[in-house]
Subunit: 333 residues, 2 copies
């Protein structure tokens, strides 16, 4: 369980690449270096959007898009397989300055679900499109699609086999997180514990004071056909307003029933809490008390305060401020 | 715009059957009588569950199930058609006493989506299943399915043709509600303005003090293939806790981006507001200011206070307390 030290930026962004039982012993030095490099690329892409006059919304799309395109993270390329051995993905985005949002769930062909979520926000009167209807919408709008081979990685396929073997031994009750202490695998069994779970996300604040949040995921390994977690649910995995922007990662079902992303906003709006208190109240008190090791989130407020908080052993994460220098971390500090 | 007078019950339930530009001139006396009778049947079914020892959760399922089975309401039998002429339905349920929830979205074959949502809650580790995966889950658990003819009604088919004709003249930006004053049809054009929209829902309080909420819908007429509104979204269309139970109906996209159902809870929890103030704050102030005529909700708190509130011209609604006598209403009072 860890919270970053107090951070403040004038403009910039914060990202996450999923939570899990991440300890220095759980990652090889090579894999750790790859993750750090990918997180830095994501931060630089988001910052590049801001520096070239893009909005907070643009920054979240660029940052999340880099992690979707990387096979390291469970989103876009490199997503988890469901119980059928099929990849289905979910994403959402929200513009805090307008209150507009877009989301897609259970899409299998779209290279960048977060870009499709933005298209739903910009080009349809709706917030959420699911399944083949969402893919039809993508084709009508000329969105880049890929075949199943593009999304495939040996690592996630192996994770499915492990998850299936374990599901035979006990009911599969894990969501996006494998932070439940009782099922932590030893490093020798699972060199990267997040290979079975994970979500990516970004929150951004631009020079005009606008906030935005975006989240994307392939869901949990061996998930039930049709299962959708919190990532495409506005108010659960993603929320943005004039007060704050929040993107979550963790055991999706608990993030839905606790409306985690909206609760950060609600604590600030209705209880006049600051960002740090609001995040602490939901991540460390409410969620952790109910479900230890259930996940984490990144959040920004309109004053540029940054929170990267998780009740698991680690979270792939990073932030970048107006100096353009990326900061990344994986383990609890 | 109307709010019921202050009501309090020891145990019982409140229901809604959708909002719209409902005025006495908009319904024939025969149709109005049919609606009133169906609302009473729904209330008696829910009350019967409570009286026979059932939980608040049981009561919401029975009450919503009656409205799903009635061709009058836009849920289950009699649901709206999407742009393809296909019926797809959404539902959700939440148990305030445990915080557990279940939901299904974009299902086409299930007779009672609210019963399937409860099954997801009770028999799966997940909260939300969508599309064919949800239907597969239903078949595995022996849930009653129907063919397309069962769900078909001439009335909704005609509503689709009207919606398609209007969509040719202007962008289709309406959600579950047709409460936007600028597009109100005259009675001669649309004998029942809610034939194009609507959602059904129930909230209940049992003798043990438990709260529950459930919501079910066929979505808007002529909706985009794959569009999902607020009804299956925990925190948007449905929420229940130890404090309150809320079921919403209205322009779904705005209920999602404002996390309406969770916001009622959040105002009570974080701002220490009573139920009436919390409901007023979101329905009449926040929502109505942003989107006039956007919808309404029914809500109960742990003390048995009842709210049936809407910022449209009417809402099919009712409540029943410990005396077992149903009370129903349609128009603003």
């Amino acid at each position: 369980m860890a919270s970053a030290r107090a951070l403040r930026i004038d403009f910039g962004l914060a990202i996450h690449g999923g939570v899990g039982t991440l300890t220095p012993a759980a990652l090889t030095p090579e894999l750790e270096a790859e993750y750090r490099a990918a997180l830095e690329r994501s931060l630089r892409a988001g910052f590049g959007a801001l520096r070239s006059g893009g909005s907070a919304l643009d920054a979240t799309v660029e940052a999340v898009g880099v992690m979707e395109d990387s096979p390291l993270f469970n989103a876009g390329r490199g997503s988890n397989f469901d119980e059928r051995g099929v990849i289905t993905m979910d994403a959402s985005i929200m513009d805090g300055s307008t209150g507009a949002a877009g989301a897609v769930a259970h899409v299998a062909t779209v290279r960048s679900p977060v870009r499709l979520a933005r298209l739903v926000m910009d080009q349809s009167p709706h917030v959420l499109l699911v399944g083949e209807g969402a893919e039809h919408f993508a084709r009508v709008h000329g969105v880049k699609e890929e075949d199943a081979a593009y999304f495939y990685t040996d690592r996630r396929w192996d994770a499915l086999q492990v998850a299936k073997a374990e599901a035979g031994a006990r009911p599969n009750v894990l969501g996006d997180s494998d932070g439940d202490e009782s099922v932590e695998a030893s490093p020798s069994e699972a060199p990267d514990p997040t290979s079975r779970s994970g979500t990516v996300g970004a929150v951004a604040l631009d020079g005009a004071g606008r906030l935005a949040a975006a989240t994307s995921t392939g869901g949990m390994a061996n998930k039930t056909w049709g299962r959708v977690g919190d990532s495409p649910i506005i108010g659960a995995g993603t929320f943005a307003s004039h007060r704050c922007a929040v993107s979550c990662t963790g055991w999706g079902e608990h993030f839905i029933t606790n409306a985690v992303a909206h609760d950060v906003h609600a604590r600030m709006e209705h209880a006049d809490e600051g960002l740090a208190a609001a995040v602490r109240g939901i991540v460390f008190e409410r969620l952790h008390r109910k479900v230890p090791g259930s996940g984490g989130l990144v959040a920004l407020d309109a004053d540029g305060n940054v929170e990267l908080s998780f009740n698991t052993r680690g979270m792939y994460r990073g932030w970048i401020g107006e100096d353009g220098s990326p900061n990344v971390a994986i383990y609890a500090e």
